[in-house]
């Protein structure tokens, strides 16, 4: 037998195990958080659905949680959310994508070093500030445009602000994807006599497509979940999308799922009424939608990371 003692030291081992469990616990907390979110949403949502059938909730066309006759159709809220999201997407997706192209293909590294953090600032401004901007500066400015009859609360300014807020989400993830496109592909294209425009649009963007797509989904998911901008600037009028009047849709007040939650939340926060429970049903809907979108975005992103190792 060996003269050298290689056995473990009890207190050392115990300490090691203790720390291991401690850190494991910290990591498991994130799973607990998810479970807690799902449970808190579900428990009250179940109460809600005992009183209001899921069919009525999902397909009802009137949302009036507190005013008689009460109605809990979530479609008007989804309409509002869609309106805002579409508006924000119309701004953020093209601008974000073009910005990403500029950063990855055109900007010198020095300029990129300034621009990127400057863009990140857009996502760092508290949303309540954006909401205030929308209500107090943007709406009056837009209203001053001739022939535009804008309500005080309207989807237009809110979606513009949401759009600006999510630009960096599109631009930074898309830029990562574009930077991941190997330089050899660019060289191949330049070598064939392509201009920078052609290289960007026919090689870099197609090759980075899944990353770009993933950034789009993530940004839209953020727009869907955005609360304060719409609560302050988009108003509290639940209504269904009227496809015959698309302009009116944006010029008038709408109510998103998040804004409806804030409305109930500010008035009724600890009640036990159905209106209060509906908060959780809407929250659950919102959670499911955004969670699914985040998952999809992650899946798509992992695919693009694979392509070039």
């Amino acid at each position: 037998m060996s003269a050298i003692d290689l056995s473990s030291d009890g207190s050392r081992t115990a300490r090691g195990i203790a720390f291991r469990y401690l850190f494991t616990l910290c990591a498991l907390l994130s799973i607990l958080t998810t479970v807690a979110i799902v449970l808190t949403l579900l428990l009250d949502a179940v109460d809600f659905f005992a009183a209001v059938s899921p069919i009525e909730f999902l397909f009802g066309t009137r949302w009036s949680p507190t005013n008689d006759p009460v109605a809990f159709g979530v479609l008007p809220l989804i309409s509002g959310t869609l309106t805002i999201t579409v508006g924000a997407a119309a701004i953020a997706l093209p601008i974000g994508l073009l910005t990403a192209i500029y950063l990855s293909e055109y900007a010198s590294s020095r300029r990129r070093a300034y621009l990127k953090p400057a863009l990140e600032v857009l996502a760092g401004v508290p949303t309540v500030v954006y909401g205030y901007f929308a209500l107090v500066y943007v709406t009056p400015a837009l209203d001053a445009i001739p022939f535009v009859e804008l309500s005080t609360f309207n989807a237009l300014s809110a979606s513009i602000m949401v759009g600006i807020m999510i630009i960096p989400m599109v631009s930074s993830i898309s830029e990562d994807a574009m930077s991941a496109v190997p330089d050899s592909l660019r060289q191949a294209s330049y070598g064939l006599g392509a201009t920078k425009f052609t290289v960007s649009t026919s090689v870099v963007v197609p090759a980075a497509l899944s990353g770009i797509f993933s950034s789009f989904i993530l940004a839209l998911s953020r727009a869907i979940g955005e609360t304060m901008i719409v609560a302050i600037a988009a108003g509290q009028t639940p209504k269904l999308i009227d496809l015959t009047d698309p302009a009116g849709l944006f010029l008038e007040s709408v109510q998103t799922m998040t804004a409806a939650m804030v409305q109930i939340g500010t008035n009724d926060v600890v009640g036990q009424s159905i209106a209060y429970k509906s908060l959780f049903a809407v929250g659950l809907t919102l959670f499911v939608i955004t969670f699914a979108m985040n998952l999809v975005s992650e899946y798509v992103a992992s695919r693009y990371r694979e392509v070039y190792q």
Binding site: S64, N67, S151, T152, F153, Q236, S253, T266, D268
Partner: protein
């Protein structure tokens, strides 16, 4: 209630948004004297305040733009809470329109009902033929509010429902913003919100049979402005009265309720007699709970 006891040095308040400006002004003045006391005010509407906060024992004081309802008294009693009422101002519930709405200066109570009842008028021209053929943009109080209850009782009546397809909010200031922004809007709320913004929105006179009466502090005080002038209250929880901060704050509040402070906010202050009555009532209640 256990939680409340632990909290200490807290004066949690919820309830009417009509009363909110008064309470805000009083609390701000109180802060100058006692900055270390944590006075907090939530705007939940009178009814929301009673049923969700006050009767469950989560607040010490409830702002109310109507008297406490029987159902609320019951709920409070279940939790062993007895609300103590103090009148702190008089309000003129005000109907407002956009200043550009040049066709309208006055409404009869009947017309007002027509506008705000379920299945009533949809367009201005439905009310009077020479008014514009445009849809209303309606801003009103949420159902949890005392204003809603009061308006419903005084204008709509028992036979029909208040309409539901309007911009319902607990935040009266939102109504100002909304009405200011649209030529065809109409809304109603406490007088103070009009008084703060007389240039941005237009108050409509009310004709209850004796001709058109403009809402104002004067007409409310004189009792001419009917049926929309009403007293405003705060309710104190007898349980919370054991808390010296709550006692102190209530004394301060009641004393202020007879001063210009209330008028600056846009309501009619109570008379000194009412104030003295209230103070007496408060001391009696305090003696009872601390005895």
């Amino acid at each position: 209630t256990d939680v409340l006891a632990e909290e200490g040095r807290q004066v949690p308040i919820a309830g009417s948004s009509t009363v909110f400006p008064v309470t805000e002004a009083v609390a701000a003045a109180y802060f100058e004297e006692r900055p270390s006391v944590n006075v907090s005010v939530s705007q939940t509407g009178t009814g929301g305040g009673f049923s969700n906060f006050f009767c469950p024992g989560m607040t010490a004081i409830n702002n109310a733009s109507r008297e406490v309802a029987d159902a609320e008294l019951e709920q409070c009693a279940e939790n062993g809470i007895e609300p103590i009422e103090f009148t702190i101002a008089t309000d003129a519930l005000t109907v407002v329109v956009n200043p550009d709405a040049d066709w309208i200066d006055c409404l009869t109570v009947e017309e007002l009902r027509e506008i705000w009842r379920a299945d009533g008028a949809q367009r201005w021209s439905d009310v009077r033929d020479d008014w514009p053929d445009e849809e209303f943009e309606l801003y009103g109080a949420a159902t949890t509010s005392g204003t809603f209850d009061y308006f419903n009782e005084a204008v709509i009546g028992e036979d029909v429902n208040h309409r539901g397809d309007y911009h319902a909010t607990e935040q009266d200031r939102t109504i100002v913003q909304g009405v200011r922004g649209s030529r065809h809007a109409i809304g109603y709320f406490g007088f103070s919100f009009y008084a703060e913004n007389p240039n941005q929105i237009k108050a409509v006179g009310i004709d209850s049979g004796d001709g058109c009466v403009e809402p104002s502090l004067q007409t409310a005080m004189d009792g001419e402005y009917t049926p929309l002038s009403r007293p405003l209250f705060i309710y104190a929880s007898d349980q919370a009265l054991v808390n010296p901060e709550v006692q102190d704050f209530l004394r301060f509040y009641i004393e202020q309720s007879a001063t210009d402070l209330v008028e600056e906010v846009g309501y009619v202050p109570v008379t000194e007699d009412v104030r003295d009555e209230n103070l007496e009532k408060l001391e009696t209640a305090i003696d009872e709970v601390t005895a």
